[in-house]
Symmetry: C2
Subunit: 313 residues, 2 copies
């Protein structure tokens, strides 16, 4: 009785030579994504499969958090110290002090965020944690190698990728920031001028709430195991807080991968956004072809690029 319909929705296949031109008719800068190549463009999944080793960068185990739930689920999070160095240093210090051992996930708001912590506003902080970090909501554009994404964006003057991270940036002000895409992790905070310590974290489980960009410190993204967080029952209180503490989801511990025994430590790699493979991948994401798609969009928004990540072979 089970249909196989729709199975082709994401199935990989070579971009057909007959791909129609984009429906996006607004003027765009002449760049590597136009014109749509009629022949030889590659399905994104094939680009990932065939990318050379040089198209990948290792995830530094010092920037890798491994979150373990008491139900056995493991979630891997890459931290982005280049965007929020003080918050990321705090998060490492929290992990090394065992701050989240026996913490819980206590908020799940549909189409918004899942949030966990252990009361950083009420409890004494571990040694090495800066209580009031600076507002690391953006940083200088200088020093970053941006691979521009040449499609329009509703939130930022320019968007693109840096080291596999989706960013917004503004050449006029010379600032850049890590965006709130699906699976991205940010630092819960109280009202301004508080920036949060990093002890309370959230991850985006719905359509990208980009209005949070530049208003919160964004510190990383989930690389693996996110389905274990996104499938948690939504909280029924206002803002998705889970009413009964008995229904909070217990965390066993969160560790920095560098501190784990080598045999236990997972290793990941992320596609380099300065690689040719990445440009081909973006082109394929913006111009889906194969046997399923009839009308490639001719564009892709920043949070639908989905930067490739994989276990290190």
């Amino acid at each position: 009785m089970r249909s196989t319909r729709f199975a082709a929705l994401t199935a990989g296949a070579a971009l057909a030579a007959s791909c129609a031109p984009s429906v996006v008719s607004t003027a765009q800068p002449a760049a590597d994504w136009r014109p749509v190549p009629a022949v030889g463009a590659v399905e994104p999944s094939d680009t990932v499969k065939n990318a050379p080793a040089s198209a990948w960068r290792d995830v530094d185990p010092n920037n890798l958090l491994i979150m373990e739930l008491k139900n056995g689920a493991k979630i891997a999070i890459e931290l982005a110290p280049q965007f929020a160095p003080v918050h990321v240093a705090n998060i490492r210090a929290f992990a090394r002090a065992g701050w989240w051992n026996n913490a819980t996930i206590y908020r799940v708001q549909d189409n918004y965020v899942v949030q966990w912590g252990n009361g950083d506003a009420e409890n004494p902080l571990p040694p090495g944690v800066v209580k009031t970090p600076p507002a690391e909501y953006d940083r200088p554009l200088a020093g970053l190698q941006v691979r521009p994404l040449y499609y329009p964006d509703a939130y930022a003057p320019k968007v693109g990728h840096v080291d596999g991270w989706p960013v917004g940036y503004d050449p006029a002000s010379g600032r850049a920031w890590l965006t709130h895409c699906y699976a991205h992790v940010g630092v819960g905070r109280d009202l301004a001028p508080d920036t949060g310590t990093g002890g309370e974290l959230y991850a985006v489980i719905g359509h990208a709430p980009r209005h949070l960009d530049l208003n919160i410190a964004t510190v990383g993204r989930v690389l693996e195991g996110f389905d274990k967080l996104t499938s948690i029952q939504r909280g029924t209180e206002a803002l998705g807080f889970i009413k009964d503490p008995a229904n909070h989801v217990p965390i066993a511990r969160i560790r920095v991968a560098a501190d784990m025994p080598a045999a236990e430590r997972p290793a990941f790699e992320v596609m380099r956004s300065d690689s040719e493979a990445f440009s081909a991948y973006v082109l394929g994401r913006a111009n889906r072809g194969g046997t399923f798609f009839n009308r490639p969009a001719g564009g892709v928004d920043l949070c639908n690029v989905n930067v490739p990540v994989r276990r290190k072979p």
Copy 2:
């Protein structure tokens, strides 16, 4: 031990007079969303609360599907016959024939779709169902009253709202289409030129996969109860198919609300996108203020507008 941090993230509060100008510096058409009003702009939740009765339209019970899972969960879906009339008529015929009684949810792919059905490709179709509907992937722009959204979009020349539905449109070609936003429902299909009957449906559970626009018939959106679908365990097979049929989530039935006894029938209303309240709401979504936001974005993307819906008072 529970922190209240981050609770303010979506809390309503009046837009502060000190809101900074937008970071979006690209040229935009002069329209109702600029300049950002320095004083008196309203928090979106307050706009919804204070909207007059005339700012709402009833959901026609003939366009309302009520899906009941065997676990007791109820999900309300509004259908959009103005965008896919043959598919919507099929869906009503399937419901009235009891097609989905004892069907299942058999696919949940993280950051993509949840999908359900009962084998429309293999089984005899009920009377009144058109086996090969036309490709209702877009329709004439003529006849639609579009409320434009004046922010850049990566997928369509223009975007906006029609009767509370987010749409893409192209004045040059004179075509318009219902988009793939969060909670939107589309028709599973095989490869072209098949368009699917409407017997297999999916809903978007992640960041809007707008590359599906113009490639599939989009027929509606979930109005209530979506958290019961988004929190289902993701399938572990390729494309999120759930391997063990014992883990498929059983559906009890799907009915057209118009066919339900009046006492059982829920009633909803959706904010009219041609109302002043909606324009104020969009303005507020694009310029979040209150005590939490320091830097309003000055823009909002189509699928982050979140058209207000509520139970009819």
